[in-house]
Subunit: 378 residues, 2 copies
Amino acid sequence: MPDKIPADSVGLVTPQTQHFDQPLNFVCGRTLDSYDIVYETYGTLNQSRTNAILICHALSGDHHAAGYHSIEDKKPGWWETCIGPGKPIDTNKFFIVSLNNLGGCKGSTGPVTNNPATNKPYGPDFPIITVRDWVNSQARLGDALGISQWAAVVGGSLGGMQALQWAIDYPERVRYCVAIAAAPKLSAQNIAFNEVARQAIMTDPEFFDGHYYERGVIPRQGLMLARMLGHITYLSDDSMRSKFGRELREGKLNFGFDVEFQVESYLRYQGRTFVDRFDANSYLLMTKALDYFDPASEYNNNLDTALAPAQANFLVVSFTSDWRFAPARSEEIVKALTHNRKNVTYVEVRSPDGHDAFLMPIPQYIGVFKGFMERIEI
Amino acid sequence: MPDKIPADSVGLVTPQTQHFDQPLNFVCGRTLDSYDIVYETYGTLNQSRTNAILICHALSGDHHAAGYHSIEDKKPGWWETCIGPGKPIDTNKFFIVSLNNLGGCKGSTGPVTNNPATNKPYGPDFPIITVRDWVNSQARLGDALGISQWAAVVGGSLGGMQALQWAIDYPERVRYCVAIAAAPKLSAQNIAFNEVARQAIMTDPEFFDGHYYERGVIPRQGLMLARMLGHITYLSDDSMRSKFGRELREGKLNFGFDVEFQVESYLRYQGRTFVDRFDANSYLLMTKALDYFDPASEYNNNLDTALAPAQANFLVVSFTSDWRFAPARSEEIVKALTHNRKNVTYVEVRSPDGHDAFLMPIPQYIGVFKGFMERIEI
């Protein structure tokens, strides 16, 4: 619990739920007849409705991007560094909408939700979802909130991919687009890591082909392994070295298979705590959405053509030590935007913190981000 | 099966077993009263016994480094590219000894071996082994074969670490030392990957705390995951891109969790086949030996001091795209050797093939390696 809520926080927030009865068609060919989207808002929508920002979350994120749900909360939302009064996404200026994506496990319709057709959780029968599907569902949410155009769509990692897809699919609805630590598509290595994570979950004997809810179990070990592996790719070799080095937890080698190095202890802790807050079927869906994202694939693998329809002004940010989505991947996006003579600001931020840097209060990053957001006319 | 055995192969080889009855004390404090070491030899020991080369294997390697066990073999030994007549480790000049390390699963005493004290496999009770222990056991093998000094000790990856430890612990017994794609110690990231692999194995419900032999099962899924993960770290992002890209196995997305991308198919195959040829307890031991290797730790983390006793001439080789043990890690070794005014040749080989490059016939690599080995006087 924070002693008191910091002055630069949005403070206490309450998630809201929007119900939709209009069927949503997915790229995979399936349809959801009705669904809920859970979201939070920060700041105030102006009368002309021109100051709305959409926040898109990353793989294990959710709608709770800023503030606290209760005074007892130990931690604020996941992007507290960037959302709040005086911060880059300034609640004194903007009205911010942050949602839990469909297929997630924090209240929006997903595998854990009861399927009205069967009166059991959707589980593995939830449609395979793509970034485009998310963007379509987010457009519906915008409609429901009376927001016909976003001042900006903003996201990091998988969230940045959603921001790009918005600029492509709804060019007239996005004035500014911020894609941080993203990539125009996953590399074979990225897919390979996702596949190991999926195999860890799916070969867990408690997975039961995704029907584990009915049995009152969860594929704990598999999800734990997936998260441990993910964590390695979020950090850099350097940041792990400076955080953990080869420090021994008990100061000496024990010649056994219990935790010996601090990094082992950290990873096991990350794995264990994740299992209590995330659903394995949702994790599988999120990794698939990552694998499938590839807007250029519809245009003969030409990213220039894919991005041609965009009308937004772009901010693209990468981090020097991010090896999951390295600066070279962001540069592919910047190059394609530049070929299209789009207005794009690009910055490669010096940071030892790997992919996770996008969540951190790095002065160069915050400065550029804030400067860009201040330029948005509302 | 090769149509016929190639002329530059050592041809058909037969493993041999050396039994030891003199107790071997391990760094962990435990002792093996008796043990076997399985090894192969290629070439002929000269009368003065000055032409012997010791090959040390990497994590999943074994004694079968070159040639064929039978005319039916589909593949030769794991280092066929570098061992044979006219190759860098030239069987026309050298007598080569290649062993399966203790703790392994290819015939040398290890977890699968019957423990005479219990009449059950050692399993998880096999002593935790370190690189130093291996080197001590290899010295005993040298004694048994009448080899008081190696013309060279040679290894890649974990094998390179053994070569370095030889040069430190038995300086008078190593004239040349070749450490390829090695590192002076693992980084936190390296340990982290090992830890995920270990957790995959140890949390497999068929692991039974390592006592799976008695139950007639193996921790198949865990070992498969460990191998899939290992494979990602052996390849580079670039080599995966050129091997697999984002190629779809069936040419289209299927929106399901079966294999879609070629890289998934490759990894699953690698995982599945590994399970049939490697023991999970051995895998755990090998990763621990990697984690523990850190010769500088005994000298206030001063690698210069650790390497000071060495008398060998060194060849150190790294590969540009190796991110498991990057060139910078080899340069730490070279720097420490140079500070000690040792005779050291260093080459950073241009290669897109990642860590696995050390097994490949890359002309620059083979050329430098061959040139170095030709300089060895016998």
